[in-house]
Structure formats: C-alpha cells, structure tokens
Symmetry: C2
C-alpha cells in the first residue's frame, strides 16, 4: 500500500499538525507516556541512571528502505527494529526513543496509522517508550522517519567494535543473505543474545550485520591482522539460496554481500573454552544457530581455503 494519496480527505493535509499529533498519541497508546516524560514539551525527560547510556539513530526512508510493497505496519516495525539491533550489538537494554518525521501533506492517514501501530507493537514487545519527536513538512513526496533510540548497558559493560586480537575466534548468529526476501522487514533484533554475550568476559568485540558480512567484519578487524573466514562454514540462509537463483551469483556471495541480516557478529578470546561457550549458548538460545566462521590471523599468510574478502562488496551508501 502506498504511503501517499491524491485524495485530500485521506491525507494528513486534512488534519494539520495539531490534530495529527493528537492522533499519533492515540495510535501509540500506552507506549507514549504523559508529559514531562513523553510527547508534548520542549524536551522529553528521562530518569537518571547509573549505567553507561547508549544512543543510536537510524532512519526509514520511503523509496530507500521500504516501498509500496511493504505495509505501513512493517515499515514501522523495521524502523524500531533496526535501531534495537544497534542496542543489541553493544549488549544494551533499550529504554526510550524520539522520532523526527519529514513528510508531505499527501501522506495517507491510514498508512501513517499502520506505521505508528507497527512502531507501538514492537516498542511494547521490548519495553520501549516513544517520548518525543518532531513533524516537519517535506516537499517532493519525501517520507522519512528518523528515530533516535536510547538504552543502557544490560550488564556491567558495553561491548564495542574494538578489542579483537590475533588468534581470536569469529562467530555469527543465525543464517546470512537474501534479506530482500521478507527478512529485511521481518527480522528479530538479537537483544537477549547481545545482553547475554556482553555478560561473557571472553567476548571482546561485537557488531550487528547491516551492510553485509564482507564489509561489516572490517569494522571489528584491528590494524595488523586479517579475518580468516572459511567459505564452507558460513551459515547460508534459505533466502540466499532462493535469491541466488535469480541473480546468477552464488548463495555464498549473497551471504557475504547482502545487507540487512541484523545478526550479531562477535569475537571471542582464543584462550577461552570455546565448547563451553557454545554449550551455554545452546542452553539459552536453542533455536538460533551459532557458528564459528573463522579467526583473526596475522599476515603475511592467510590459511588455505579462506575467503578472499576483497572480491566481495557490502553495501556502500552514496555510490
């Protein structure tokens, strides 16, 4: 369904800003707390906390991240879930979000209602409140929703992208590739898994896969070492196999290059008991595969059979 409508009576133009904000509060329901902790003042107020605070921001833009094939509800879920995935990647627990909308007067009220309901149901699931935002006119049929999500460390520490060393092992959750078949708007952010991993001292670095394994792994690779990944170990999703039939590329290619997997990629100290870690994982997250896909190796020689990552490209914006 389209986000825009030619009929004035069905568009946000017929409401104006003030009535629209009232409707948004109704659509959000209990997800929108009362002022001063929520929508309706110059700032939202969050209670102080003695844990490290996390902040992340990611948008959903109509025409870039979603299109007329995606329902408003799925678009709203995707917006919050992609930000939740960033909180998961630091081992965090989400708390509250603000949402800045740029939209034209032609935006369909029905589509926008579904969009906010998608946000609300996802927020309810994860204990997130929508505490504020802004609405601005955009011309040229541009619809963009820019969310900023706040969280805090779930345990004692946050896990950053830095901390890997030569010899450390590389793990990934779930199966990769082919996200354009539904997965890019139906994925589950790995919050419980990220929080659990942050509580394991052997986990040294973590990132969520948003631009494709081949690109994202470079963000956790320290200077002076190289990732040695083994092709036969990469967990390839069924979607990647199906998608590959239409592209002429290999399923492995899609598992390495497609963006929007939203799985966790993390690094474990090579001296840690790997089989104990994998056993504990299975006890906690029975349904989600965990795979050791390689390790960080010191140049000049990569082990035989490792993937030449420079042959694959993740998604790069503005190109």
């Amino acid at each position: 369904m389209d986000a825009f409508t030619d009929k004035r009576s069905e568009s946000v133009f017929s409401l104006g800003e003030i009535a629209l904000i009232e409707l948004i509060k109704r659509w959000l329901g209990d997800i929108s707390p009362c002022t001063p902790f929520g929508i309706g003042d110059d700032c939202a107020v969050l209670e102080p906390s003695n844990k490290p605070q996390l902040v992340t921001t990611d948008p959903v833009i109509f025409g870039t991240h979603v299109d007329a094939n995606v329902s408003g509800r799925a678009a709203g879920k995707k917006l919050l879930n992609r930000n939740l995935s960033d909180i998961a990647a630091m081992g965090g627990c989400p708390r509250a979000a603000v949402l800045s909308l740029a939209l034209p007067a032609e935006t369909s009220i029905t589509w926008l209602r579904d969009f906010y309901r998608g946000i609300a149901s996802t927020a309810r699931q994860h204990g997130v409140k929508i505490v504020g935002g802004d609405i601005t006119d955009a011309h040229a049929c541009f619809f963009g929703a820019f969310l900023t999500l706040h969280g805090e460390a779930a345990s004692e520490r946050v896990v950053t992208r830095q901390g890997a060393r030569a010899g450390d092992l590389i793990y990934v959750t779930g199966r990769l590739g082919g996200s354009r078949i539904r997965h890019h708007y139906s994925f589950t952010p790995r919050l419980a898994e990220g929080a659990w991993l942050a509580a394991q001292p052997a986990v040294r670095a973590m990132i969520d896969l948003s631009d494709g394994l081949a690109k994202d792994i470079l963000s956790i690779t320290p200077v002076g070492v190289k990732p040695a990944l083994f092709g036969e170990r990469i967990p390839i999703s069924n979607n990647a196999r199906r998608w590959a039939k239409g592209t002429g590329l290999s399923p492995l290619h899609h598992a390495l290059s497609d963006g929007e997997d939203f799985e966790l990629l993390f690094v474990v100290d090579y001296r840690a008991d790997q089989s104990a870690l994998q056993r504990n994982w299975k006890k906690n997250f029975q349904k989600l595969p965990l795979t050791c896909i390689g390790h960080f190796s010191s140049p000049p020689h990569l082990p035989a059979g490792t993937i030449r990552l420079e042959k694959f490209h993740g998604y790069e914006h503005l190109r």
Copy 2:
C-alpha cells in the same frame, strides 16, 4: 550558495560513504570524541548522570528551514541552535548530539563542509559533543539533517510547560517578530537565561517561541483560564517593523504570528515579588530585555485592552 552541485567531482558522490564519514570527523575536530564515546560504533556511549535527562529532536531541511540564500555554515548553526533553544526552555544544560543525514549524491562537498563547521563552532561554544549519527541516500534532491540533542537539568529541577495558574504573570525575553530578516538563522539560544530561570522557584512554566507567541502561549495555558496579553506591552523587534512595511500587516501582528523568535516565554507565580525578579534579571542579563506582557485570567471576562488572540495565527505545519 547551493547545497547541490551538477559536478560529480565536487559532490559527495565522488567520495562515497566511508570517505565522507572520515571527512566529517575531520570537519568536526575536537567536537567528535573518540569511540566508544563518539562516532564509529553501533551506539554512542554517554556517561551516567544523576540528574534528570533531557532529549529533544529538530531538523533542518533544505527548502523548508534554509535555502540557497543561507550559507552552509549558517544552516549548521541554525540546526544546533534550534535544538539548544529547546534545552534552554526546560532549564537544561546541553551535553551531546547525534545527527542523522538524508542527502542526495549531488550534495556539494564544500556546502556540507561549511554545514559541519557551523555545527562544530556552535557546539564548541556550548560544550556539546557530536557523538554519532547516520548517513542515508535521499533521492529527489532532498537534504535533511535530523539532530537529536541530549542534556540534563542545570539545577535541581526542569521547568515544563505545565504549572501556570490563574493570576500568574506572563513574561517574555527579547523582542519579537520579523525573524525572516536574518534572525531565524542568527539567533542565540537562551541557555544561561533558561538555567537561571529554572533556579527561581517562582517560575512555574516555560517554553521557547518557535511558532509565534499567539500559538505558543496556548501550550502553557492551563484548562479553564485565558491569557490576557496587552498589545502595548508586547516587545516588538525592529525586524518586525521593517518586515511589516512589505506585508501591509501591523508590526504587532508580526510579533504575535511570526515563528522562529527563539525567545523564552515563561510564567511567574503571582504571589512572588515581581520587582525583585526583574531587578535580579537585570543584574544577570543586562543586555536582554525582559517584559511582563500580561497574566492568566479566569473567564468569562478578559480585562479591557487585551489582545484577541484568536485573530492571530502562529505557524501550523502541514497546512
């Protein structure tokens, strides 16, 4: 100067995302702290604080808030300043911001550099760090910068829009109207003033003027009372007088209806010593006028000579 260019070599297309992020970090300089407290991880990390936390979000969109007559530098300053004004309105102290950009590949590198330098110089002035963000392709020559600013209470409390009662007096800082003559991108957010006012127990409610006095005052008017404002007391700016010459409307009309004044409108307990408050204000903020423009009155009768606010309109989006 225009934000867009036809020459590929002068546009962000020639850089791509990764090189652009490196450039942005360079443009921001010391305003961009090292990861994990800054740009370059899944989330930014802020240190815990025992004060109430404030969050606000406001964008600058090319074609809506700024145009080709405004330099990139002025656009960047405006973006941060309008968010700072929201922190000021709660009596807060700003700390850190994240910035989500939607821009087309045709964006001029020079314009964008000036834009970030404008943000950086304003951030330096107010002790704000830019700790994270996102960059996404936008088609159709849409440039939007969506900033979310974090702060905390400057004193013991935050001042909200709620708290006014019948009889309370209404004050405004500075002079109003005609913001389209430079003021809308050269204004100063009233941070020191907002923090000082929040420390005065007699100040009951506060807001910053962004959509025009006639509209914004309704946000601090409690149910069951009406604002009684006296026309001859409204502090009219020279810009409003100049602007009125071209519109055929009165300078007072512009002072009531123009948006983007970014002055503080606040409410003082009618039992407080008003002249002591005004004396103390003068000691602290000699150069900035403070004016008592009226009070909240109980219906059915407004005092003679008060402004009929329903005849004036502030700015309403999506109309």
